[in-house]
Amino acid sequence: MSETAVTKGKLAIYWAASCGGCEISLLGIDTKILDVAEAFDVVFCPCIADGKVRDMEKMQDGEIDVCLFNGGIRTSEQEYMARLMRKKSKVLIAFGSCASEGCIPGLGNLHNRDAIFEDSYQETASTDNPDRVRPQAATRVDEGTLHLPVFYDTLKTLDQTVPVDYYLPGCPPESPRIWEAIEAIVAGKLPPAGSVIGEHTTVCDSCPRTRDEKKIKAFKRTWEVIPDEETCLLEQGLVCCGPATRAGCGALCPAVNSPCIGCYGPNEGVEDYGARLMSALASVIDSEDPEEIDQIIEQGIPDPVGTFYRFSLAASYLRRSKQAVADGNGSSAAAADVR
């Protein structure tokens, strides 16, 4: 027993701007979690076990063997933790869609801090805030100054903040894929640094539906049709993200008659997920008349950014919507100081 204890690695699991689903999915590997516990000491995982940041700070640099980091970087506290975990870990893995590509929290990049605060602390129906109180980064009290994390205008992915060794896609990553990754880590059979641990093909390749030539006159939304269960959903006019999305889920959504929404992120070699999906969907439109094409697109896809970049806005080429110059964009001097 003591021999295994000596060879045990150290594992940390941390979360930033995320929902906690990644941890649930990790626990979804079921009793295999015991095998994980046999191979690793879980030194830090605030979601499921007590842990203190100061214990991390006291560790030697590189003392943690593997850190699974889920969540995007939205606040100064999260950025601090990303830097800390990077420093203390030999291998840092962007775990799940948020850390890899921003995911749903990344859609906040369509707005900025002021707009998000206005919504959250003022406009919501259950909010009563006549004094327009907003969270302040620093508050003076008798005992000194209290700090809250600074909320950023733009959510960043983990690798836009610190260098990342591997990526595990998915919202959340499917439990069997997590187990495969853990097995690869334990066996030391990891792919070259910087790669995605996962499939190198698309959801379409794992989808059992029959595919034929795609020519559609209108995009339909899921509530408008009950699709037939055999034919490709895209051929039936539903906006299915399968052609652009990495496999790994086993085409779960098409299997239950629902189009792929793209949670497994871009396939290998794709830099901008939305661009790939736009390309794929544009190709199936059956029209050569510019006006009709515009009409098909505008009626069928009322929310293009939310459709094409539902999971990947923060990691796309443009990263966010255009900000007015006065919207908290800092001086270029402050910006140049980054990293």
Binding site: E79, V150, D272, A282
Partner: protein, 165 residues
């Protein structure tokens, strides 16, 4: 903005068979046009992936021109119709991200239409000049508060450590 006069940076994706030759013709016919377009020759307007345009904008282009053969005259039969549809998708998405329509334009110019291409370039440059610089790179930088906050965290944690010791 600054005192310097704004000169739009435009990236142009021109198809090999029509629009690039139109540019050649404009050159050999000494047709004057704005010098702001950096031309990249592609085999077909259908080769222009939306990611090319997005990347150009993200890296500092103020506008993008996609130019190809007239509909029905594509060297590859119907790929310029694909360009047309992709362009529609792209415009629809760019609108959602706050990029003005006139920054990205789709132009048809045959190999005989040097004047038409020159006019389209002038028009695009004039449109973008009116819209002003895009300055996308840096659109996601945070203000100075961020660096101060990161320093404060370290300081606070150090102080907290001392208390327990």
């Amino acid at each position: 903005m600054s005192d310097q006069k704004f000169e739009p940076k435009i990236v142009g994706f021109l198809c090999n068979w029509c629009s690039y030759r139109a540019a050649d013709l404009a050159g050999s016919a000494r047709i004057m046009h704005a010098p702001n377009v950096r031309i990249i020759r592609v085999m077909c307007s259908g080769r222009v992936d939306p990611s090319f345009v997005l990347k150009a904008l993200s890296m500092g282009a103020d506008g993008v021109m996609i130019a190809g053969c007239h509909p029905g005259e594509c060297h590859y039969l119907e790929q310029n119709y694909k360009a047309m549809r992709r362009f529609g998708m792209l415009q629809h998405t760019l609108r959602g991200l706050g990029v003005e329509d006139k920054r990205v334009q789709l132009v048809w110019a045959s190999a005989a239409e040097g004047q038409r291409l020159a006019d389209a370039i002038d028009q695009l440059v004039a449109d973008v000049r009116e819209l002003g610089p895009l300055q996308w790179a840096g659109n996601w930088e945070e203000n100075g508060e961020r660096l101060q906050a990161l320093e404060d965290i370290v300081k606070e944690h150090e102080e907290a450590m001392e208390v327990t010791a």
